[in-house]
Symmetry: C2
Subunit: 310 residues, 2 copies
C-alpha cells in the first residue's frame, strides 16, 4: 500500500493529506439549513450536511492531493447516520481516485484488534461471501496495548495490501505526559514505541518503505528529527501543521533526504479556510470549497518550498 | 454514575459484568442460518444474528447482573449494520434495566476526544435539538495521548452523569512492553497512568468513588494489588477473568476491604459457555442462553466465595 501512496504523492508533487474533520461549526449555514429543512433537527440532517460539505471540498481539491484523512470521531458523534456519512465519504473519495487514511486510532488486543483491522482494512466472511465493512486504505492505530494490539493490524495489512500509522509522538500539548517519560533503555517512551513500530514494519515492507508507518506531530520537530533517523524506512504521518501551530520550516526534518518519507496533514486549515485569514476576506461561505482549493495550493507550495528550496 | 453502578452491584450481589463480544463463531448455526436465509450472505444478516444472540443472552441473565460491556469492535467489523446492532443492543439492555459499559477504547485530543465522548456518553446539538448518539452509560478510554485526550471525557461525564474506565494495565500478554517500563519517578508507566487517573477522577467524584475508573487485567494480580492501593477511590474494571486465565483467587486484591471497588468482566466464558466445559456436556447449541445463565451464576458464586469466604 505505502508504495501506492508514495506514487500518488510524487505524481501530484504534494506530500499532503486533507483532514476531513467536519465539525458542524465549520459547515456553512446554508448547507446546514437545507439539510435541517429537509430532514428536521435530526442526526440524519447533520450527516447529510457533513456529506454535502465533504463532497464539495473533495470536488474542489481531489486533483491536487494524493489522499484524505477523515477523522471518524467527527462522524461517530452523529451516531449511525454519521457513520453512514463516513462510509459514503470513503466511497466518494475512492471514486475520485484518492487514498483514504481512516483516522480511527483504534487499538485493542488479539481477536478484538483483528476485528477493528477487518472493520477498516479487511474483509469479513458472512457465510461464503467476503465483504469489506468500511474499506479505508490505511488507518491510524494506538500502541498502548503493545504487540498484541498492533500485530493483528499488520497481518491484515499484509493480507489485503493496506497500511497503518501507529501513534508515536502525538501533536497535542500534553502528549509528553506519558510519551516523553524516560524508560528503561534511557530514552523517551516515544522512541521505544518508534523502535517497535520499525520492528513491526519489517514484516510488511512494500518497496523502500513499510506499510507500518508512524504518527509524529509537526508541533515537535526536535523529536521528529530523532524519530526520522531511528526509522528510515517508516513513513511518517505528520498532524499539527497549521491550526495546531506546526510550521513548514519545522516540517523538513520529518522527511528523508530524497524529499519523501512523510505526509503532512491539515484539517481545519483546509476545510474551514473560508473562515480564516487570508481566505476569509476573499471567499464567502457560499464559496467555501474554492477557499479550500486555494488553501491546498498554498499548503503544497509552502511545504515544497521548505523541502526543496532551502 | 458510579454510585448507580455500585448500587446495582450491591443490590444483585454480583460484582460482575457480562461482555457482549459476539464473534460469529460463538453464535449457534441455527441463528446464523436463519439470518442468512432471510437476508442472504450480507452484513445485515450477520448483524441480525448478533442481535438475536445478544437478546437471548440478555433475557437469560439480566436479572442476575448489574451491567453489560459490549465490545464495539465486534460490531464495527460488520460495518454500518453491525453498528446498528450495537446501538440496538445498548437500547435493549437499557430496557432491561442494565448499565451499559461501551468497550470502545476511544482516545484522541481536544475537540476530537470531545466528539468521541459526545458520541458515546453525551448529546449532540442539531439546530436546537439535543440528541444522544449511542447513549452508553460508561465507556473505556485509552490514555496514550495524556490529559488532552481524557479531560474531554471527564467533562462529558460531569455534564451528563456518566462514567469512564481508563486503560491502566491491560490483561494481554504484551501489555508490559510499554506499560511496565520504568519511568521518571522510578515506578512503572502503569503506576504513573494510575496516578493521573486518580487526579482526573478528583474532578468527578460521585459518593466514595469517582466516575473516572481504571481498567486493570485480572491476569496481573500483583500489579492490581499495587494499583488498588494507589487509587482507593477509583473503581476498577477487571477484564481477563476466565478465558484469558485470571482466577477468582487472584481477584480479591482488586477490591477494597468493603468488598466493593471492582467489577469483573467475563465475555467468552459467559456468552460461549455452551461450547465449553463444564456446560457443553449439559447444554446444546439450542440452549446456549441457558448455559450462559448457569455460567453467570457460577461466576458470581466463584467471585463472592473468593471475596467473602476466604
Amino acid at each position: 500500500m505505502i508504495s501506492g501512496l508514495i506514487d500518488a504523492i510524487v505524481d501530484k508533487k504534494a506530500p499532503i493529506v486533507v483532514g476531513l474533520d467536519p465539525n458542524l461549526k465549520f459547515i456553512p449555514d446554508h448547507i446546514k439549513q437545507a439539510a435541517i429543512g429537509e430532514k428536521g433537527e435530526t442526526l440524519e440532517a447533520a450527516a447529510d450536511a457533513v456529506l454535502t460539505f465533504n463532497k464539495s471540498i473533495i470536488d474542489a481539491t481531489y486533483d491536487l492531493i494524493p489522499a484524505v484523512k477523515p477523522q471518524i470521531a467527527m462522524y461517530e458523534q452523529f451516531g449511525i447516520p454519521g457513520l453512514i456519512a463516513y462510509k459514503e465519504t470513503v466511497d466518494y473519495c475512492h471514486s475520485k481516485g484518492l487514498i483514504v487514511i481512516g483516522d480511527v486510532k483504534r487499538g485493542d488486543i488479539g481477536s478484538t484488534s483483528e476485528s477493528y483491522a477487518i472493520a477498516h482494512l479487511g474483509e469479513i466472511k458472512v457465510g461464503e461471501k467476503s465483504i469489506k465493512p468500511f474499506d479505508e486504505d490505511m488507518a491510524t492505530v494506538n500502541p498502548y496495548l503493545g504487540t498484541d494490539g498492533v500485530k493483528p493490524f499488520v497481518d491484515v495489512c499484509n493480507k489485503y495490501d493496506k497500511g497503518i500509522f501507529v501513534l508515536v509522538k502525538t501533536s497535542n500539548p500534553s502528549s509528553g505526559e506519558f510519551q516523553d517519560q524516560t524508560v528503561d533503555g534511557g530514552g523517551p517512551l516515544y522512541e521505544l514505541v518508534a523502535v517497535k513500530v520499525r520492528e513491526w514494519g519489517e514484516d510488511s515492507m512494500d518497496g523502500a518503505y513499510s506499510n507500518v508507518g508512524a504518527v509524529v506531530g509537526a508541533t515537535y520537530p526536535e523529536q521528529g528529527e530523532k524519530i526520522r533517523k531511528l526509522m528510515p524506512n517508516t513513513y511518517i504521518l505528520v498532524p499539527g501543521y497549521g491550526a495546531q501551530g506546526g510550521k513548514a520550516s519545522d516540517i523538513k526534518v520529518f522527511f528523508n533526504k530524497d524529499g519523501i518519507g512523510a505526509i503532512v496533514n491539515s484539517s481545519r486549515g483546509i476545510i474551514a479556510a473560508y473562515t480564516k485569514e487570508p481566505y476569509s476576506g476573499r471567499f464567502d461561505a457560499e464559496h467555501f470549497a474554492d477557499a479550500s482549493r486555494e488553501a491546498v495550493r498554498d499548503m503544497i507550495s509552502d511545504i515544497n518550498t521548505a523541502l526543496f528550496d532551502t
